[in-house]
Every structure is written in C-alpha cells, then in structure tokens.
C-alpha cells in the first residue's frame, strides 16, 4: 500500500462523492479545494452569517445540496481537508499548492481530479464593459452573496443555465430584461429525445421558461448576439438579431452570458494526461476510460472537469472514479456497484448528448466577430489580431497564434478565450477546429506571488 495519500482536487459533487467512497473503503484521502467552503459551484455554500434556507438557495435541488453538504461534513474526521487552497503546479515531490503567499508541497500516491467547469464564452463587442458577467457569475452573485449583477439584466447565450439563472433572478425580485438564446426552437426539439431519459430535468427547465414567460420576460430563440452597448463603466443595451435578421435593441443595465460549460482541464494537462477531442462538446478533454482512469496510472478524473454531464452525473462519476482507484489497488468493490454507477452515467450521458444537441455551441459566431472585438480579455487581443496570426503569419494551430499574437497569454491562460480564439483561427484558415489544437497549460495554473514561501 502506498504511503502517500490519495489527493482529491475539488470539493464539489464529484470530489465529495469520491472522498466518501474512499473513506468507506478505509482510506484517508486529502481533499484540496480552491473555495473556502465545500460544495463546488452548483452547491456552493453561502458564507457564515447568511441565513437563507437550502430551499431558497437550491430550489428543486435542495435535497441533493443538503445531502452533499452534510455527507461531506460527516467525512471531516476521516479526511484531510484543505480549503481555500489552489493547486498551481506539479513537481517530482508532489502537487504544489498556494494559499495566499504560502506554498505547500503535497505528496500523493494518486490524484482524483474533480476540478469542475466554468462557463464557455463566446466573446462579442462590448463584453469587457463592467456589468457583463458570465452566467455562472450571475448565479454565484445571487447564491453566495445575495446580490444581483444589476437591476435589469439580459441573459444571453445558450443552455439550460440561461433559464435557471433568469428564473432565480426573477424569484429574487429582479426581472430580466430578456432571455436571448442562440439555439432555435427547432434545434432544441432535436435534442429532446436524448434529454427525455431525465424527464424531471426537462420538466424543471420547461417550468422555468413558463414562469419567465408568465412574468412577461421576453424569451427569444435562434438569435444572433451583435454587441453590448455601454458607457465607460456600465451596460446600457444588448443589440441582437432575430432569426429573420431584424436588429433589436434591448435596454438593460447588465448582462449575463454563457454557452454551456468548459471543463477545467489544466491540472490534467500539467500532469501530462493524454487528451482527445470530444466532438459532442466541441472541446478537448483528458482521455478516460468509462470509470475515470486517465492515460496516467495514478490520475483519475470525475465530474464536469472531464465530461460535461452536470452535477448529478458528477456525484456518480466521483464515486465511480474512487471505485476504479480501489479496484486498481486490489481493494474489493462490489461488481454491481460499478455496473450501477456506469448505468447511471450512461443515462446522464444520453441526457448530456441531448443537451449538447439542443443547445449547441454556436461556433459560427466566432467567424462573424468583427475584427476589433476583444477576444482575450487579459491581453486585449482582438479577433483581427488572431486572424492576422492565422493567415498572414500562417499559424496552423492556436499555440503558434498565441506565440505571435498573445491570445491566452495573460493571467487566465486562455480559460475564458481559448475555445473561441481557436474557433476564430480555424475559421480564418478554413480548417476544422480540432486541427487547430488547444492552448497548452503552464504552471502556475493561477497567478503565483513572487514573495511566496514554501512551508511543509
């Protein structure tokens, strides 16, 4: 038996269930989480001193949230829990973490990466104006801080989160100015068959839409976002085009945008796990077997950090990855447990496939972005800069364009712009996006203070 612990990175649904399963087999994993409080993004806990109920915070998912929080709290005597700490690098000695200016080296015998996902973003003119946030941000403001991003926001993009966030804002007394979906009704219907395996989720979504419509929130589908208008620091309107090509101007004071999710895969990349291009989600991801084994014997992956199947699937995937690890250590795992989890995940996969069909990533928008649109918000690199690198400088893949024109070179290392920048490059060259590569990850995964001190 290896002397070093199993490290679980991330304390959301996947990380929590992985930890729980390992503890039930007698292991003492260490859970490192960037957030100060366990729960991940969807089940994010509010800070001490806040009093809203689980029902109010998590709606239909209140029960799941409660059990995820309570089950984790019950694990605390059996695990190492390192909250508020970011994994930023990998050395021969272990994972390198930081908390403020304190760097710690965590030796490991195996890692389960449950790093979750962030919003997938398609830039548009004006999106760097204060008042424009990701959909996830719009939700976090409300859930974790009891704030909204404005008094009259537009929510724009595609995916189920669009309607959930708009509905949550409505519940909080802030009526959205509009909900603008790039997916058409016909496209959404095409995804319905896959989604039908989880009728409750579909019903919930329809319920949000109906409530928004009843409240008089304009719900528009098949739209093309054009730009966000604003003053120096403040949004005044969203300009968009309907399916017939007519321009519309929706006055608002803020905007939340997102086009589904993007797996947070940087740590797997630093660990040199093999990646594959996942055509369903039009993005690269670490290659895994059905149970979450990566190409590296000591690295497992679970949850939205590897395949975008949502929070329920993440719980099952976390447990399954833990089972895979136990099996690999010759610790007995009931065969029916594995089969049951795989079956659950198969259902979730059908649903996720349906969602991806119903709310597709609108890659076409990348090709249409005006040249002066800021794409990389860290380095202020425009679509035109990327196209110049793609064509005049003959960059066949995104890392070359990055070297020559800097998209993805800033503090966030392409987390926000990488997928869109790659689409822009591929479109400019008339090549498939899969051949344009993915932005390589480098340590530190998040900005590392130069005055940091290594502690043991």
């Amino acid at each position: 038996m290896a002397a070093e612990p199993v490290i679980i990175v991330g304390a959301g649904p996947a990380g929590t269930r992985a930890a729980q399963r390992l503890v039930s087999a007698g292991l003492h994993p260490v859970v490192v989480d960037e957030n100060d409080r366990q729960g991940g993004q969807i089940y994010r806990r509010q800070p001490p001193g806040f009093h809203r109920s689980h029902k109010k915070l998590y709606g239909t998912e209140a029960g799941r949230a409660r059990s995820l929080h309570d089950d984790f709290d019950a694990l605390l005597p059996s695990i190492g829990y390192i909250p508020g700490t970011t994994v930023w690098g990998v050395s021969d000695e272990g994972l390198l973490t930081m908390r403020g200016s304190e760097v710690t080296i965590l030796p490991f015998s195996a890692i389960i990466i449950a790093s979750g996902a962030t919003d997938r973003i398609m830039p548009l003119p004006g999106w760097t104006t204060p008042g424009v946030y990701s959909l996830g941000a719009s939700q976090i403001a409300l859930k974790a801080q009891a704030c909204t991003i404005g008094r009259r926001p537009v929510f724009m993009g595609t995916g189920p989160l669009l309607y959930l966030v708009a509905w949550q804002y409505l519940q909080a007394g802030v009526k959205p100015a509009a909900v603008l979906d790039t997916s058409s009704l016909a496209t959404r219907l095409r995804g319905l068959r896959g989604m039908a395996v989880r009728p409750r989720a579909v019903t919930n979504g329809l319920r949000y839409m109906a409530a928004l419509a009843r409240a008089g929130v304009p719900l528009r589908s098949g739209i093309t976002p054009c730009r966000i208008e604003g003053q120096e620091a403040g949004v005044t309107a969203v300009i968009w085009q309907d399916a017939k090509g007519t321009l519309h101007r929706t006055a608002c004071d803020s905007a939340g945008m997102g086009y589904g999710l993007r797996s947070e895969t940087q740590l797997a990349d630093l660990l040199k796990c093999e990646f594959i291009y996942d055509t369903r989600f039009s993005q690269w991801r670490p290659k895994t077997d059905p149970d979450g084994r990566s190409s590296r014997a000591d690295v497992y992956l679970a949850g939205d950090g590897v395949i975008l199947r949502g929070a329920d699937a993440a719980e099952a995937a976390g447990k399954l990855a833990a089972c895979a690890l136990l099996q690999d250590r010759k610790i007995p795992v009931p065969g029916e447990e594995i089969l049951g989890l795989r079956e659950t995940l198969n259902t979730m996969t059908s649903f996720a496939d349906g969602l991806a069909k119903a709310f597709p990533w609108p890659a076409r928008l990348a090709a249409a972005l005006p040249d002066d649109t800021v794409v990389c918000r860290c380095e202020n690199v425009t679509a035109g800069d990327i196209r110049h690198a793609a064509t005049a400088y003959d960059s066949p893949e995104i890392n070359r364009a990055k070297a020559l024109a800097r998209p993805g070179m800033g503090r966030c290392q392409g987390r926000m712009c990488g997928l869109a920048a790659t689409e822009i490059l591929a479109a400019a060259r008339g090549e498939p996006v899969a051949s344009a590569g993915r932005i390589r990850t480098a340590a530190p995964l998040k900005p590392l203070p130069l005055d940091c001190k290594v502690t043991s």
Binding site: E34, N35, D36, Q41, Q46, P47, P48, G49, F50, H51, R52, T86, T118, D119, T128, P130, G131, V132, Y133, S134, G136, A137, I140, A141, L142, A144, Q145, A146, C147, T148, I149, G150, R151, A172, G173, V174, E232, A233, G234, S254, E264, R377, C378, E379, N380, G410, R411, C412, R415, M416, K446, P447, P449
Partner: protein, 100 residues
C-alpha cells in the same frame, strides 16, 4: 459613483467600512471584496493595455479579471477574497514600488 451590484437579501449583516480610492464605503460582513466594492462602485480595476475599467467576469477565480491592489501594495483577487473592515483598495494606479 453608481453601484453595479444590487443587494436582494441577507442585508441584516454587520456593516464594515472599506476605502476605495480614498473614499469610504460601507459593505457587509461576509461580502467578498468584489461585492463590497461593486455594491458601491462601478469598477474594480483598469485593464493594463486599454486602460478601460473592468469589474470582474466569472466570480469563481477562473478569469483573473478582478485582481485589485491595496494601498500598501498587496494584490488580491477580489472574487475570492473576504472583505475586511478597514481595507484600503485602489482601482486606478498600481501602488508598485517602482511607480512611486
């Protein structure tokens, strides 16, 4: 300066005082630094290359567009830093030693 964010609940927390560009603002205990500032103001920082204001984007520590400086030269990621009573924040000039 107009506020970007709008409080909709949980307003019975203990007030705290911070200073943004020298001006005193009131926030609530439990606020992130980002919320403390944006419930009073419309910006957190300036982008280094176009000098235009930014106010964060992802609120979950991914986009790195909410790094702000304290007057004494510490850099904090506003979305994942707890606001503390007495904090003094700068949204414009960077208090880098070589800037002085």
């Amino acid at each position: 300066m107009p506020a970007l964010f709008c409080r909709v609940d949980e307003t019975d927390r203990q007030p705290i005082r911070l200073f943004v560009d020298g001006k005193e603002i009131e926030a609530l205990e439990g606020d992130t630094l980002l919320v403390a500032v944006l419930s009073n103001a419309d910006r957190l920082r300036k982008n280094e290359f176009d000098n235009k204001p930014r106010a964060g984007f992802c609120l979950m520590g991914a986009c790195q567009d909410c790094w702000i400086w304290t007057e004494d030269g510490r850099e904090l990621r506003a979305c994942s830093t707890q606001a503390e009573d007495g904090m003094r924040i700068m949204t414009g000039e960077v208090p880098w030693l070589l800037n002085r």
